[in-house]
Amino acid sequence: MGLLIPLLLLALTVGCGGAGPTRAHALPGPGERLNPIYDVTVLYPQTVLIVSGLSYQGLELELEIEFDDASLRDADSPFQATARVVSVIAGGVMQSFSLPGPLDLQGTLDAGRVDTGLFGPIQVGGANLIIDLAGTLVDDHRQVTGNATLYGTSDAGTFLAIKRRRYLVVGTDLLVSGEAAVISMKNDATFAVDNDLEVTSADPIARVEDGRPFVVNRDTYDNLEGLDPFDAFKAAFQYTLGDRANPHDVVVLPPGTPGAPASGAGLAFVTRYGASFNDVAVVSLDDGTIVDRIDLTPYALNPDHTPRADQALLHDGLIYVTLEDVDKSFTHFMNGRLIVIDPAARSVVNVIDLAGQNPFESLLFSPETGLIYVGLAGIFPGLNTRALTGGIEAIDPVTRTSRGLVVDDDLLGGNVSAVVVASATRGYCVVADASFRNDLKAWNPTTGEVLETLYSGTDPINDIAYDGDGSLLVAVGSFIDPRILIFEAATGRLLATLPARLPPFSIATLTRSL
């Protein structure tokens, strides 16, 4: 190894890195799409490295590779990425290193094969390491495994790249303000939390749409906030949606979706819950202009004709919107409704009557079952007498008809306030019982069977999220002990408990795959 890396080679390879990716600003308007990040472990067991006159056998590199999303999503196979070196271990000893320049990659992704091309150098002692990684996507793109070569040597190496999971968590003091934090899960095992990234409202909903992080600042804040993942998730824009609009959810049409503009930052479809709005606003993400609105008043059956549009879901080119169908004073609850909107025509194309009342903050599509699920809370105690008139309802998006309640809330034993589906045989929901305890329960989306209770307590569970990669996140909004619980979704095993600075209120998955 001592013969490795003459200066000539250094110059050569610096040159190869110098033409690396300039960060793609994919969107002409404000906001950026998230990039996939993989944590890479590269092993060269036979490599000998001489540092300060000492010889070390075996080289292990810990890298972090951030792939440029725009170059991945385009039609050709080349992509650009940037690598960062986390650590260098030689002979089992941590070594110091330096980088003469950025580690820019120009690789290819073709038919599940990833080749980073040469990148480097990484200076360790007197050595300059120049690396090439070539492997195959496995485990539904969660990992890349393959061979690593070291330029100028015949040393054989291997590498394993594991998709980094990231979650946007917004917390709230329920009074004045909230804040955004990001949880990272490296190598499927190690968690890190970046707190206090940006101030949000006290009624914030985290969303990732079209690969872009948003915060819907709801009642009295009435705006849509875009976060910039390349600027530590600081606010990139904040667009007002109207005084007392009370926006509840957002859907952004990805490029190529019918109804999406050919250029620009795109369009957001925002449900406006406020009794003076009753619609879905079509918002230009270029400048926040509300370019159109889809009036939902005709679809509300309550005496005040206030639809109370809540959740929105983009599936198969259509936008599904839940209507709570409650009057202005929140005393007359009709059965919930699911509205289907053609975003290209900006009109309602279907109305699906739900079997239960009060569709509440849960609307999702499960690829495993091919069904859409709606969580129906029934009537919470408080202003009205508590009623278990909800549950979890399934919708067939092909026929656009309801299949009725998969699980009745009588069976669950309380009001359903959140629902996720992790697989065809395992979903989770949050149930509030009459004594104000919150239960996190597992249920079977295929049979409707209630499987088990994973968590029960008087601390509020403000949100749950399934990340699509096997983890269930639970936001325990205790003011005394605010925390995020992370479960293994397949088994219900608790993986981690992460303390939060503010009571967590809403979670969105930032993770992006190759």
Binding site: D173, L175, E179, N223, R244, S329
Partner: protein, 667 residues
């Protein structure tokens, strides 16, 4: 007691009355002394000679166009939180607004339903004096709390018939009219006053449309639905019974209707809040028993409040209106016994019964329930004068028993059926005063106080707030120590000068905070704690007959000790520094006045995040008063002359520059 004319009174306090030795300067004043001030002098607290108190008299604001809210803000140790319209609350030494007891002519305005007293519902036109007891509530008052007490006294009858009338008009179509009459007829004194106030409140402000991170969409717009209309009537009659006894009746009626504009960017055009308040009180005081060493007093009062909130479009709340009726009936019996020239003992027992009928508007059935509270209080206070009156000790004990109950109404709600809750507590306080010569006085106090949970906290609001009948009272341990320097003259010009420096600390435990619950409501819980330390400085200076000035400064350090995420942070809504300065200059028949107010930067959230903090406020007011012939007087005042656009609380905008004029006729 130079410059003070003492008249006996009874309310839980002391007398002085009769015996000659007790008229001596250093005789115990006792806890029920009532002092009528006939000139500026040492600012002894009328109800507690060891307490640090601010006394604001009618003549102090006679030359200005001001309000109770503004006078409070200018006082040392006091913070005011304003919503920029017809609602403002007060905090004393870092307390919450609910921890400050406010009395109007002896009737406590803090009712058991909860919420702080709105300073805007205390018209200044009929006020004779305001006493602010910082941190310590005199034992002679039937209710105490952690933050102290504010006593507002309406005008008393003049010895000869007198009448006055005034008209004011100013920016934002603010108009005020007041008239009063008083006189003494034989054994009776009569005083009556009426006043009205209205304002559009449509001052311009900068709205950020709720997008604090985006300034390009900010624009200036008039405040909407911020109007207020208030009518107020007050009256008092006093009849002398025999040689010394007095029987007095007071009444106060207020009716207000105001728009609820909402937070800065979130405007409502339809939400309204209306209040009606009727207060009645009768007092009998009889000094002179037992050779003039015993004073007896009894009082009864009745208060009826109606509070109506309409939110037809759900733009402020959830589209729900409420109509709450609160009734209060209180009785007090007390005595003061002067044991000798060095000691006076006073006792007070009081009972108060309060009920609140809670009604939700617009739905059937509408009755949410009825909450009730019975409170029984007994206090004993001793006042001991030693060392020839140079040392005064003032210990007191207060025992209180309260029982709460709630009966569920037909509209249902969270609380299952009926609930009861009750508890007994004893608190105490000791104070001292040392006079080191004529110019220097040292005072100090230490004690414990409680704030009882209110109905909202105990039983919920039948909506988003869940009650908790198991709540304990909030408790506070207060201490202060201060020194007062008085110079009757400065240089060659006559005029008193006074400097008061005070250190204080409050440790509050079991503070009631609303903690979120699983189903999205909040539950009142005893998880809060706080420590407030601070220092106060008051300086008054007179330079000749033409010029006078004053300076009040408060610096306080607050720390949240709650058992939750905000632990260790500064408390929101408590600026570290507040300062006010006033000056007047007399020229001929005119007087120029100037007032400067500084309110330091102020956190608005529990996390104390800097980018959510409110900027400091620097406000300058100038005024000119001129006496005309035939009892006429005119005042012109410009407030916030720098047109500073500022915010308070959770970014409620405050008015910029405004102009107001008043014409007064006294005859």
């Amino acid at each position: 007691m130079m410059g003070l004319r003492l008249t006996p009174w009874l309310c839980a306090g002391l007398l002085v009355a009769a015996t000659a030795p007790l008229h001596a300067q250093e005789a115990p004043q006792g806890p029920v002394e009532r002092v009528t001030v006939s000139g500026r002098a040492e600012a002894t607290a009328p109800l507690d000679p060891t307490a640090f108190a601010t006394v604001i008299r009618a003549e102090d604001f006679a030359d200005r166009l001001t309000s109770v809210e503004e006078l409070m803000r200018e006082s040392v140790g006091v913070s005011v939180q304003s919503l920029g319209g017809a609602f403002a609350t007060v905090s004393v030494r870092g307390s919450t607004a609910e921890q400050v007891m406010v009395y109007l002519d002896g009737i406590p305005l803090n009712h058991a339903l909860g919420g702080a007293v709105n300073l805007a519902d205390l018209p200044l036109a009929q006020v004779e004096s305001i006493e602010i007891y910082r941190g310590f509530t005199p034992a002679s008052l039937p209710a105490a709390s952690i933050g102290g007490a504010i006593l507002i006294h309406t005008r008393r009858a003049a010895r000869r018939p007198a009448a006055s009338a005034s008209l004011s008009y100013g920016s934002f179509r603010t108009a005020e009219s007041a008239a009063g009459f008083s006189g003494t007829y034989g054994r009776s004194e009569v005083s009556i006053g009426v006043d009205t106030f209205s304002s559009r409140g449509d001052f311009p402000y900068l709205t950020d449309l709720g997008t604090g991170s985006e300034s390009r969409d900010d624009f200036r717009t008039p405040r909407r639905n911020n109007d207020v209309r208030r009518d107020h009537l007050t009256g008092r009659s006093t009849v002398r019974l025999g040689e010394r006894a007095h029987l007095s009746f007071t009444t106060d009626f207020l009716k207000s209707d105001e728009g609820v504009a909402g937070v800065g960017s979130t405007l409502s055009s339809t939400s309204r809040y209306a209040t009606e308040r009727l207060l009645l009180r009768s007092e009998l005081e009889a000094p002179g028993f037992w050779d003039g060493r015993l004073l007896l007093k009894g009082a009864a009062d009745y208060g009826a409040y109606t509070e109506t909130f309409d939110d037809p479009d759900g733009t402020v709340g959830l589209g729900l209106g409420t109509h709450n009726r609160i009734a209060s009936l209180g009785q007090e019996l007390g005595l003061v016994f002067v044991a000798d020239a060095h000691q006076a003992l006073s006792l007070l027992t009081s009972h108060r019964s309060e009920t609140a009928d809670l009604v939700r508007k617009g739905t059937e059935p509408s009755g949410l329930g009825t909450a009730g509270r019975d409170t029984l209080v007994a206090t004993i206070e001793d006042q001991i004068s030693l060392a020839g009156g140079r040392l005064l000790l003032n210990p007191s004990l207060r025992a209180e028993r309260y029982d709460n109950h709630f009966e569920l109404g037909p509209a249902g709600g969270i609380v299952p059926g009926s609930l009861v809750a009750g508890e007994s507590r004893t608190t105490g306080k000791v104070g001292f005063r040392i006079r080191a010569g004529a110019a220097v006085t040292v005072r100090g106090n230490a004690g414990t106080f409680l704030r009882l949970p209110d109905f909202n906290e105990l039983f919920g609001n039948r909506g988003a707030v869940r009650g908790n009948p198991a709540l304990r009272p909030e408790s506070g341990r207060n201490a202060d120590l201060g020194i007062i320097f008085i110079r009757p003259r400065l240089g060659t010009h006559p005029g008193p000068s006074r400097l008061e420096l005070t250190l204080f600390e409050t440790n509050a435990d079991d503070l009631i905070l609303f903690v979120p619950t699983p189903e999205g409501t909040v539950l009142a819980t005893n998880v809060g704690g706080a420590r407030i330390r601070g220092m106060e400085m008051t300086c008054e200076i007179g330079l000749g007959r033409r010029f006078g000035g004053s300076l009040n400064a408060t610096r306080q350090w607050t720390r949240d000790l709650s058992d939750w995420f905000s632990r260790g942070k500064p408390l929101p809504g408590r600026p570290r520094d507040e300062l006010s300065a006033g000056a007047h200059l007399d020229l001929g028949l005119g007087r120029f006045t100037y007032t400067f107010t500084y309110v330091g930067p102020n956190f608005t959230n529990l996390r104390a995040t800097a980018d959510q903090a409110l900027a400091a406020r620097y406000l300058h007011d100038i005024g000119y008063r001129r006496r005309l012939s035939h009892g006429l007087q005119t005042i012109l005042e410009v407030k916030n002359i720098g047109d500073s656009h500022t915010y308070d609380v959770a970014r409620f905008p405050l008015p910029g520059r405004s102009l107001e004029g008043r014409l007064t006729w006294a005859f």
